[in-house]
């Protein structure tokens, strides 16, 4: 089977090429951050971590992170609460109008984000709301809430309603059923919802760029500095911002794991 082996090699090559395509830009950011020259001159004459030191000692870096964090945390809290309620309506109960609710819910996902951002900007300005990180969080929510609702819904579809009924038959109260039966089972869905909400908000550019006003979240700053005013600070802040979001996610995961073990 010579032909089979050739095909196998070709398939591996194809996947390797796709992975290279996906990761070349990300590796490029890291490579670009290891210079100390004003202009990009690759291969660098001096490989250094200087830019990271500059980034960490710069007030801007901290400010960008705190704005991104404020937005992401608000989005996480609101989208998890609303998304859980929404998922119950989306997947747990059968009711008249559910199909319409489901279609309406997924619409914002199939909507060009920058256009949504511009529509929201016009609305905020028209009704006299000053754009700030709060309006950016609201804009994120319009797009992220449907996704979080879907993520939690997937968990609800695999959920056996009979267990709730059994608990009621055994004399459990409403609160007990929610706390002892429902929540433990959909908890993984809620946790995925939190992760999606956080990461999608943290990394969002197209909504933030139009709705954050004078408050600049990380991706918007990177976007504006890429177009003009390049310096090694830009790639190093990009790397730091990405690593911080990964650390927050890993940290949340570890906390959850530790909490489970303690119980």
């Amino acid at each position: 089977m010579r032909q089979g082996r050739h095909l196998g090699a070709l398939r591996t090559l194809w996947i390797a090429a796709i992975l290279a395509f996906v990761y070349i830009p990300i590796v490029s950011v890291v490579l670009a951050s290891l210079a100390n020259t004003r202009y990009m001159r690759f291969p660098h004459r001096v490989w250094t971590l200087e830019a990271y030191g500059d980034a960490l000692s710069s007030f801007t870096t901290w400010q960008l992170h705190s704005i991104s964090l404020s937005i992401a945390l608000s989005v996480v809290v609101l989208s998890t609460i609303l998304g859980t309620l929404g998922a119950v309506a989306f997947a747990r109960y059968n009711w008249r109008g559910r199909t319409w609710f489901q279609r309406f819910m997924v619409l914002p996902i199939f909507f060009p984000q920058p256009v949504l951002g511009l529509a929201l900007l016009l609305t905020f300005t028209a009704i006299g709301i000053q754009p700030s990180w709060k309006t950016a969080a609201l804009a994120h929510l319009v797009w992220i809430l449907p996704i979080v609702t879907l993520v939690i819904s997937v968990r609800f579809f695999g959920y056996d309603v009979a267990q709730e009924e059994a608990a009621y038959d055994l004399g459990a109260t409403h609160v007990q059923v929610v706390r002892e039966v429902t929540l433990p089972q959909i908890w993984p869905g809620i946790f995925s919802g939190v992760l999606f909400g956080f990461l999608l908000s943290w990394s969002n550019l197209p909504l933030s760029v139009f709705t954050s006003g004078p408050d600049t979240p990380l991706p918007v700053w990177l976007f504006s500095r890429t177009a003009t005013n390049y310096s090694p600070l830009v790639p190093s802040v990009a790397v730091i911002g990405t690593v911080v979001s990964a650390l927050i996610v890993v940290g949340a995961g570890l906390l959850l794991w530790a909490g489970r073990r303690l119980r």
């Binding site: 670009a32 690759f42 559910r98 309406f104 060009p112 016009l122 990177l222």
Partner: protein, 282 residues
């Protein structure tokens, strides 16, 4: 089985109200503004269609064309890249499949601005990663590829590939393996198997992937700004220009409504045929 008195609507209410206020509301307000006379900042009942007429006569059909063309090209190219990838991952990758899928999915969570910035330092002329490496290793000088419409297209394909790949993976997993064997036994060649068996069976995934990619690309502007160097003006850039610099809200709103109308014309028919319960349940 619809039961009267189901608590469903109560759970739906908070989300539905939020979406009405923050999704349907802005669309309504934008539509209203698009019917106001040029350069007004207030909503009245003096409706006019002049902005729509002006949008076409003022040459805004051009940015719209660029956006539509970009979305179409990106959808086709990502589908051509994702189809073999999905087949390989689903059928041949075995235990590597989930690792490779995760590796491809991961960058979705890295900001678009970080990845496009990476693309731009890679493509940069002279001192860029690609040009610099080629020059240092082989002494080859390459010209500038950055700041062209093609560079913007590469960026759009790059950003939207996962949005095509993952629905396609779902679609490919809907093809029963014995169907393909049966077709082969009946003498179908590779091409026939793909056209007659695989593509129709994987159609739902392909539809969602194409829909998602096309619609997201329709509004995409970061790629054209960072990689395209504004070599062409896409529709979102034109709208932003109307809103912010020209201070002409009604005209910007009319262009926005144009994009929304195209999106709706593509999305709504497909969405009404899709069974969301089946797809999320899997």
């Amino acid at each position: 089985m619809t039961r009267a008195g189901s608590p469903g609507p109560w759970f739906a209410a908070p989300v539905a109200i939020f979406m009405l206020l923050c999704f349907a509301g802005p669309i309504l307000i934008v539509t209203w503004f698009s019917l106001m006379p040029g350069r007004t900042f207030e909503l009245t009942t003096a409706f006019t269609l002049e902005n729509y007429v002006a949008a076409i006569s003022d040459g805004y059909a051009r940015p719209m064309m660029w956006s539509l063309l970009g979305a179409a090209i990106t959808t086709i190219v990502t589908a051509l890249l994702a189809w073999p990838s999905a087949i390989i991952l689903h059928r041949y990758a075995g235990r590597w499949a989930s690792l490779v899928s995760a590796l491809i999915a991961l960058p979705i969570f890295i900001s678009e601005s970080v990845r496009l910035f990476g693309m731009s330092v890679f493509m940069m002329p002279r001192g860029g990663i690609l040009a610099g490496s080629l020059n240092a290793a082989f002494g080859i000088e390459i010209g500038s590829i950055l700041n062209t419409w093609n560079a913007a297209l590469v960026g759009m394909i790059y950003i939207h590939l996962p949005f095509m790949l993952f629905p396609l993976l779902l679609g490919v997993s809907l093809i029963p393996a014995d169907r393909i064997e049966a077709a082969r036994d009946l003498g179908a060649n590779r091409w026939q198997v793909m056209r007659e068996v695989e593509l129709p069976l994987a159609a739902p995934g392909l539809m969602i992937g194409a829909l998602l990619t096309f619609v997201l690309c329709l509004g995409a502007n970061a790629e054209a700004a960072i990689l395209g160097g504004r070599a062409v003006t896409v529709i979102t850039a034109a709208i932003e220009q109307r809103f912010n610099y020209a201070q002409d809200w009604p005209m910007g709103a009319a262009l926005t409504v144009g994009v929304i109308a195209i999106t709706a014309a593509i999305v709504l028919p497909v969405l009404s045929r899709l069974d969301l319960n089946r797809l999320t349940k899997r």
